[in-house]
Symmetry: C2
Subunit: 191 residues, 2 copies
DNA sequence: CAAATACCTTGCGCTATGGCAAGCGTTTAG
DNA sequence: CTAAACGCTTGCCATAGCGCAAGGTATTTG
């Protein structure tokens, strides 16, 4: 499937498009290839774009005062990704967004995106869905990590995202789970 | 300050009210007193209301499959509180909402609230603020708990919510922090 | 292709936190 | 007002997970 069809298919799963919407939408989304480890956003920058991932994966993370990377989210193909907090507020981001693999994506500026949100009902629905999902996802993460052992957290991750261990460096999985790479390595040995 | 003024003051801090808005708003919010430990929502029920707390406090929590209570949020005076996930989706809640203290609040039905969101700009702003805050709060919680020790989590809580230890049972604080009451008790002894 | 780099694993000892039991103080309810 | 219930503390022991160091493997880069 070509990139444009992939995006349109995603949108149409949420809401049908009216005559002419397709062109209006595709006009604003810019295709972009990013290399492995390339940054799309760095701490301190204002996030003024939204991304739709076609192929590959990104990670969103912050760096703690002690210099430790804390991963908040892995974004794979057919997901929108951005730093919502910075996007909404217009304030500088606390996060980095970085490609984990060689990645292909569509990028749209904040103003173009918000324009489409207002003018095209299907995109309005996409945005609402993003906000709701973002909230629900973070709630789930809180509830599933609360007082859980490393093994329980790992099992939870593997359940809703099987195969992730083979795709993403263990180091990053550990950071996402809030455990050390050592502990993760030992757990994997017992699976 | 009387309850009506308290609510109106809260709203006006976000956005000014137009002529006649006050009456329209107050008409829809019902004053309600709840006893300590009284439930406002139970797991399995659909959350079709929004609450504004005038006095007292609520807790939102879920019960894990192992029967453990996991507290997500404490809501104090001058805060809106609801189960956003259930409210938005219309699906049954995974949470309980319970009064921690004797509490006075305003309750508004989902439909009345969404009506005001559409008809009164200031309320629209209130809702947007709720959504953004909800998301930002949960992000903060994730980042501040990730790989942190019990003491670090406690210090973080005390910083943004000093005095909470004197007001809320330790048991609940422990549940919120994801540690055992025993550990919390020991930490308090060292503060 | 080779050297350098990054990543993963594993062993060892240590510490923080959990689990449990007992005792105390305070709140609740008849 | 009293008994029961509940919540908090504290001691003791068990253990999960961390920190560090060393060695092996894979990946990157020139």
């Amino acid at each position: 499937m070509n990139p444009s069809d992939q995006l349109i298919a995603y949108i149409q799963k949420l809401n049908p498009l009216a005559e002419g919407d397709r062109e209006q939408i595709l006009e604003k989304f810019k295709f972009r290839k990013v290399k492995k480890n390339e940054f799309l956003l760095r701490e301190g920058e204002v996030c003024n774009f939204n991304l739709f991932i076609l192929k590959g994966s990104l990670r969103m993370y912050m760096v703690s005062p002690q210099g430790q990377e804390l991963i908040r989210y892995f974004a794979f193909e057919n997901k929108f990704g951005t730093d919502l907090t910075s996007l909404i507020s217009g304030s500088p981001s606390n996060e980095y967004i970085q490609a984990i693999e060689k990645t292909e994506l569509f990028q749209i500026s904040k103003s173009d995106f918000l324009g489409l949100v207002d003018s095209i009902p299907a995109i309005n629905r996409v945005y609402r869905n993003m906000l709701e999902q973002a909230y629900v996802t973070s709630q789930k993460r809180i509830y599933n990590f609360q007082g859980k052992t490393a093994l329980e957290k790992l099992n939870w991750l593997l359940e809703y995202s099987p195969g992730i261990l083979a795709r993403i460096p263990s180091k990053m999985i550990a950071s996402y789970l809030g455990i050390t790479p050592f502990t993760l390595s030992r757990l994997k040995a017992e699976l």
